[in-house]
């Protein structure tokens, strides 16, 4: 019997529960949660395992997010524009497409002002692993086939930009 299998009910009724404080929370504290969780998982297991778990969690999030906020969409165009719109509205980041070859299973995306890493110092490694899982799940939701997303580049120019290569597993 599982206790934590995700469903939206676990999140509860935020409007009802926070009549005074509302829906928003300081982004710093969201990141505090992420990075401390990552810290503990890395200490308990390993860096690789911490990355893997974060990616998997991102995948679960992307899946339920797609069902709740993106579905139904009937064309690639609608999928992309709706995703862009929702991600911006929800303040997750500004998604832009550099290249979309859906039939060939190759997409190149950038996300500006990413929730997880905008403002981070320039690191020698790509850090948006949760987003990798999240983004791949959005494509899985839309195409019903398996996708992988990898953050291939991440740079600071005022708004930090993350570049993701998304590929369909069967066509990789």
């Amino acid at each position: 019997m599982r206790r934590y299998e995700f469903n939206w009910d676990l999140i509860g009724d935020i409007d009802l529960g926070r009549p005074n404080l509302g829906k928003e929370v300081d982004l710093e504290l969201y990141r505090l949660m992420q990075f401390t969780l990552r810290d503990v998982i890395e200490q308990t297991y390993s860096t690789e395992e911490a990355d893997r778990l974060f990616r998997e969690a991102g995948k679960v999030a992307g899946k339920v997010f797609y069902e709740k906020y993106i579905n139904p969409v009937s064309s690639v165009e609608e999928f992309v524009s709706k995703t862009q719109k929702v991600l911006k509205e929800k303040k997750l980041g500004i998604l832009r497409v550099e290249e979309a070859m859906l039939e060939q299973g190759k997409i190149l995306l950038t996300v500006d002002e990413d929730l997880d890493c905008s403002g981070l110092p320039e690191l020698d490694y790509e850090t948006c692993i949760y987003d990798e899982g999240f983004i791949s799940s959005l494509f899985e939701g839309f195409t019903k086939s398996e996708w992988d997303a990898r953050e291939i580049d991440c740079w600071c120019t005022g708004a930090r930009t993350c570049r993701f290569q998304v590929t369909e597993r069967a066509k990789a």
């Binding site: 550099e98 290249e99 190149l108 580049d153 991440c154 740079w155 120019t157 930009t161």
Partner: protein, 289 residues
Amino acid sequence: MYYSDDEWVKLISTLIVNPVLPRNFTVDPSLLKNPEFKKLYDYLMDMRSLSSALSRGDLQHFVYGKGFILSNLKALQSNLRHLTWQTKKVADGDFSQRVDFLGEFSDAFNEMTVKLHDLTMRLTQLANMDTLTKIPNRRALEAFLVDSFKNAVGNKKPFSIIIFDIDFFKSTNDTYGHDAGDAVLVQVSGRLNRQFRAHDIFSRYGGDEFMAVLPGTSLRAAEKIAERARASVEEAEIPLNANDSIKVTVSAGISERLENDIRYEDVIKKSDRALYVAKKTGRNRVCCG
């Protein structure tokens, strides 16, 4: 090998400034073993290659170095690549694309997509409108028939078609002339048109024939609407010019989609037969098929 301060300055400035690296240009391999120098050297080489690719319009050149100048160049590259994607979308007819990251260019691009959108809407409207009566033409009618019939079959909803025909139109034309004929078409279609709702279509089907398609409307309801429309024409005086006016009437044939009507043409055929009956049995009447 030892580099004097002057030689250092010369080396770095060559890497940054020279349009082409001198043919005999080399860096002492032992120097490249120094990780700090290697990093700077790679950075400068990335800068050279990316900026040169951008200046040639090559947007496929990716470098992975980070830092102030490279990041700015990458941001420009990414902007241009996104713009390329957006332009392709516009070419595919998606005029909702807007740019907000390229200064004056954004304004020009956005103005272009807004104008393309407006122009396309205007042209589509013109292409779907009958020039004389200003109601939807046959082309618009067919598109509507395809969608609404499919919808009715899929959702098992009623679907009715009314065909109107102006009685003795040919003799009106012959007696009063073509201008009068045109005036009759405009007045009659305007009166009939008022009886239909926004989700119906009332269109010019042919010469003096008009077709109304009523999704979600049963035969009985359609009959009432057609009768009201017929009566509204019968009671009208149609002005031909400042002094003269005439009276005209219309006949109508109606039918609705039944289980065995698998194409919209089947329904049209039944309405057509009903119209024929209306004509045969005295005109100025509505008959159901």
